[in-house]
Each structure stands twice: as C-alpha cells, then as structure tokens.
Amino acid sequence: MSNVIETIHLTKVYNPETIPVYAVNDVSLQIAEGEFTALVGPSGSGKTTLLNLIGGLDNPTEGTIRVSGVDITTMPENKLIDFRLQHIGFVFQSYNLIPVLTAAENVELVMLLQQKTKKERELRTKELLEEVGLADKMHCRPSELSGGQQQRVAVARALASKPRFILADEPTANLDSKSAENLLEIMERLNKEEQVTFIFSTHDPRVIEKGKRVITLVDGKIVSDTQS
C-alpha cells in the first residue's frame, strides 16, 4: 500500500530562543493507506503537536511532511486551508461542532465549502449520519446531543469531504466508557469496510489495544512502533 503520510526528521521546538522545548524531536515515519494507527504516550509527549503538524495546523521548526506525496510544509496558508478541506478529516477532543448548526448542517458545512451540489450534500449527509447511527438526530443542535453523539457527528463531518485520512486527537478523552467503545467500533468499521485511514492519539489503554499499529512517543521522540 502507498504512504499517505510521510514525515522526515520532523521537529517542532517551542521558545527556540529562550528555553527551547522540543515538542516533536526528529520524527520520521510513514503511514500507509488504510492503517488504523494509535499515537500513544504520556501527557506532554508530543502526540497533539505531531497530529497538528501532520494535519497542517501548525508549522514545523525543521523537517518535511508529505501528504500523498505533496510537501505541505512549504505550502502558503490559504492553499493549506484548501488542502486540509480536500484531503484531511479532523476529530478533536470534544466540543468541536459548530454550536449554532444542527448535526446535519455541521456535516453539510464541509461539503458546502467544497462547493458540492445541494443534492449531493443532502444525500451524503444522510448517508453519513446513518452510518454513525444518528439518522434520527439530524436536526438536533450539539447542545441537544450527548458527548458520544457529538463525537459521532464529528466523525461523520470528518468523513464528509472524503479525505485521504482522518486525524483524531484524543477522540474518547471526554467520553464515558460505553460511548468511547461505541465511537471506536464505528471508526474500526469504517477502517475495515471503507478503508478509511485513521491516526488517533490517546493515552487510554482500552483505546490503545484497538490500534493495529501503535506508535509510542516520549518527549517528542518515537520510542516504539509496533504493528499487531
């Protein structure tokens, strides 16, 4: 399988001129299409920073990131926003839906930004919300949904643009165990049945064991990379 993500000597240093903090330190890795990868490590190990760098949300201090062979480290900001829209899906910890939009509108927003037709948007929104088991909550606003339901809408939204991969930063951190399990089941199913590539960060042992590949970070460095 081809690599969707490739990082070469990736480094992110905060406060480089005063007290340098190496959030990500010389990380080189490849993630192939269809992988279900867990980024693990203690708090402050650099999981979120690495995900932000891979997702083009932050700029590295050194190194290169290639997404589907395209170097995104030198990309101008506006192009990068458009690149994210077309190629990358995001699921954040929680409270990441637009509160004034309904579940369906949250999912539709991404396709609207992609300038998809109304018919296409409506069809895919319905399809995605059915897929995450929330067809009956289409017209609910985030405040009317539980934390688990909100994260499922976030997964549907991340899938809406048909991205090359989805980055999920601690997607189960604020969920109870049942909701967390439910969300992971959906992610596993999408990975298995639709070959969606997932890279998610976590420090929850129950989530870690679901990862087919587990990359462990400590102090910004990869200390282990295991495949199950």
Binding site: D58, I81, P99, V100, E105, E108
Partner: protein, 404 residues
C-alpha cells in the same frame, strides 16, 4: 450557510444582542427625532418669513433695496400688478407702498417701516390678518386706520382705537404727518417684525406721501412654493428692467439655514453612529474572543480566511441593521404624534419669537433622509466589523482549538 451561521450567532447571547439592537434603535431614534424636530423648527421659521413678511417672490425697482427712496417706484407698477393678478400660477399678488417714518403716541415714539397696502389683496400674500389679537384688520368704510404689532403697542402704550401720528418725508422731501386710529393689534411669531412694521391703506399712504398710484413692491405668493427660484428667474427674464427676487435671495440667511440644516443633521447623526460604533466593536470583540475555539475548528476543517472575515462582517451588519427598523418605527410613531399635537415650548416663547418660531413646534420627518441614514448605519456596522474580524483572522487553528 454563512448567513445562517451569522444570524444564529447573533441570538446565542440574546441579552447582549438585544442591548446592541436597542442601542442602535435608540441612537437612530435620537438622531432622526432631533432631525424631525429641527426640520420642523426650520420649516416654521421659513414659513413665518415667507407668509408673514417676504412672500415667495418680490418685485422692486432695481435701486429700491438700496435706500428705499420713494422715487424708486416700480415703473407702470399698477399695470404690472393687474397683469400678474391674472396669472393662475400665483395664489396671491399684492402691491405695496413702502417707506420709513416715525410713529408717535402720547407716551413715546419709534421708527417704523410703513407699508401701504390693499387689505383685501394683502390677505392673499400675507397672514398678518390671522395674527390680529385685538380689533380688526381694517374696517370697511372707516378712514385713516392703522394696524400695529403687539410689541410696538406695548412700547408706545397704544390702545385699540387710540390715535397715533405718522411722520414721514413725502416724495418732494417735505416733512409731513398724518393722524391714524388703531384698528387692530397683531402678534405674529416674529417679535422684531411686530415692533417695526405698521400697515395703513395704500391710498392713504399715497395721499400722505404724494406718490399717486405708484407702488414700490409687488409681493407674490405661489401655489407651489418649491418653484420660487424658477418663477423668479422666469419673471426676471420677462421684466429685465426690474429686480425680481425669490425669498431665498431676499433672506439669504434663511436660505442658508435651510440648506445647512441637512448637513448639520448628517454630522450629528454621524457623531451618534460613531459613538454606537464603539459599542458594536466591543460586543463583536467579546463574541470573537469567546469563540476562538470555534474559529479554530472552522479553519481546521477548511473554512478560509475570506469566509471567516465575511461571516464576522455579516454578523455585525445583521446585528446592527436589526436595530434600524426599530429605530425608524419609534421615530415615525413619535414624529406622527408630536406632529399632530405639537411640542409645547411656551416656556421659551420670548426667545423663539425673535426667530419667527411659534410656541408649538411640529416635528416633520424628511423621508428623503431615511435612505442615507440607513446607508450610514450599514457603513458604521461594516466599519465596526473590521477590527473584530482582523482579530479573528490572526487566530492559529492549532492554538485556537485548545482554547476553552
């Protein structure tokens, strides 16, 4: 979708948005009501000047305004007067003999302008007859009557039917005097006019001044007052040897007040909107700072900066513009009510009467000013949105997403 997000965002914090909307409505109400009030004052002042003193157009001998000499009568004035009286454009046409002289009573004396008029035709160009407080505006069959203003009557301690003496220089330059009986006392909205102008019959003034059938002034009141300049130009072309002036030329200070009024009002409304702008900036800034995380998510999922910028501009404009119909509604209601019943300023009547303004002010909203005001408010909203939008554009998605 941007419109939908912007509109729904306004109602996320109802109290805050209602306060801004109320502030915009109150600001617009204050500005527009003030505009209607002063519009009413200016209109009243102009109307007083036109209807009481000036009429819409006056015709004179070209040299008459310089020294008001009796020699400067309108050539063939009576003929011209009769000719103009048949023109349907005019509501009223009246000829006047005008001179200055001294009025004396047993108590005191004062310098006045004496207007020799034909009471019947004069009523069609001047409303002095409607301001008679005591007596009558001349009595049919009676001779040597004079109508004076209240202020002059007070000064000279004149009483109705009492006698006064008018002393003037006749056409030959001889000092001459005539005795007149007070037929009526008027009190117009213009106290200076009341103190300095007296009216006698034209034929009696001609006998006193030895002017025969000469007249010095023809006053014309138009059916459509807006055409005064146009009609004056037309008459001037028609009678090149005469001086034809519209009320604006006769009283340039009044014309200037009338034309300056609009500009002054726009400046006042601009100041109100400027103050409102800071309130709107403050509210939008709070909204933008509170929603850092949301902007971070939007940028992360692919909403570009142009769309973020437009969303904030749209939200600010919608928030501000929601106050416009309310402000207009309040203003129309208040202006309608006060226009019907008037605003009583009798406490300031002494001061107001010096400027030809009555005790009751009738505010009048100029509907042609509504559109510019709406545009000014929308521009204010647009300007107010720029700073909060600029702040939002500075957010970096990686850090903004993790803000609580």
């Amino acid at each position: 979708m941007l419109f939908k997000i912007a509109w729904r965002n306004i109602w996320r914090n109802k109290t805050r948005s209602i306060v801004v909307i109320a502030a915009v409505a109150a600001g617009l109400f204050a500005g527009m009501f003030m505009m209607a009030f002063f519009g009413g004052v200016v209109k009243q002042e102009v109307e007083t000047a036109v209807q009481t003193q000036l009429a819409h157009i006056q015709i004179h001998h070209p040299l008459f305004p310089e020294d008001k000499g009796l020699d400067y009568a309108i050539p063939n004035g009576m003929e011209l007067l009769q000719q103009l009286q048949t023109n349907p454009v005019y509501k009223g046409v009246s000829g006047r003999v005008i001179t200055t002289g001294m009025i004396s009573s047993a108590a005191d004396a004062a310098g006045v302008e004496i207007q020799g008029i034909d009471p019947e035709t004069e009523q069609s160009v001047s409303n002095v007859f409607s301001f008679i407080k005591e007596g009558a505006y001349f009595t049919a069959g009676k001779k040597n009557e004079i109508v004076v203003g209240q202020k002059l009557a007070d000064k000279l301690r004149l009483i109705l039917h009492g006698k006064v003496v008018l002393t003037v220089l006749d056409r030959d330059g001889n000092l001459t005097a005539g005795s007149f009986r007070i037929a009526g006392i008027f009190r117009s909205n213009y106290s200076t006019f009341d103190a300095t102008t007296v009216f006698i019959r034209r034929e009696e003034s001609a006998a006193l001044l030895h002017t025969g059938d000469q007249i010095h002034e023809i006053a014309l009141l138009l059916k459509n007052g807006d055409q005064s300049d146009q009609q004056a130009r037309q008459l001037a072309k028609q009678y090149p040897g005469l001086l034809v002036q519209s009320w604006k030329a006769l009283s340039p200070e009044m014309a200037m007040l009338s034309s300056m009024f609009d500009q002054i009002m726009y400046i006042i409304i601009g100041i109100i909107l400027l103050a409102l702008m800071f309130g709107i900036i403050n509210t939008m800034l709070m909204a933008v700072l509170e929603r850092q995380r949301e902007f971070g998510v939007m940028m992360a999922i692919g909403m570009n900066k142009v769309r973020i910028f437009l969303m904030i501009v749209l939200e600010t404009v919608l928030l501000t513009c929601a106050g416009i119909p309310l402000g207009i509604l309040f203003t129309i209601t208040a202006v309608e009510y006060s226009h019907r019943y008037g605003i009583d300023l009798s406490g300031f009547s002494k001061g107001l009467s010096q400027y030809g303004i009555g005790n009751l002010i009738y505010p009048e909203l100029q509907t042609n000013m509504l559109l510019p005001i709406i545009a000014m408010t929308a521009i204010t909203a647009l300007l107010a949105s720029l700073y909060p939008a600029k702040i939002a554009l500075k957010y970096k998605p990686a850090t903004a997403i993790h803000k609580m």
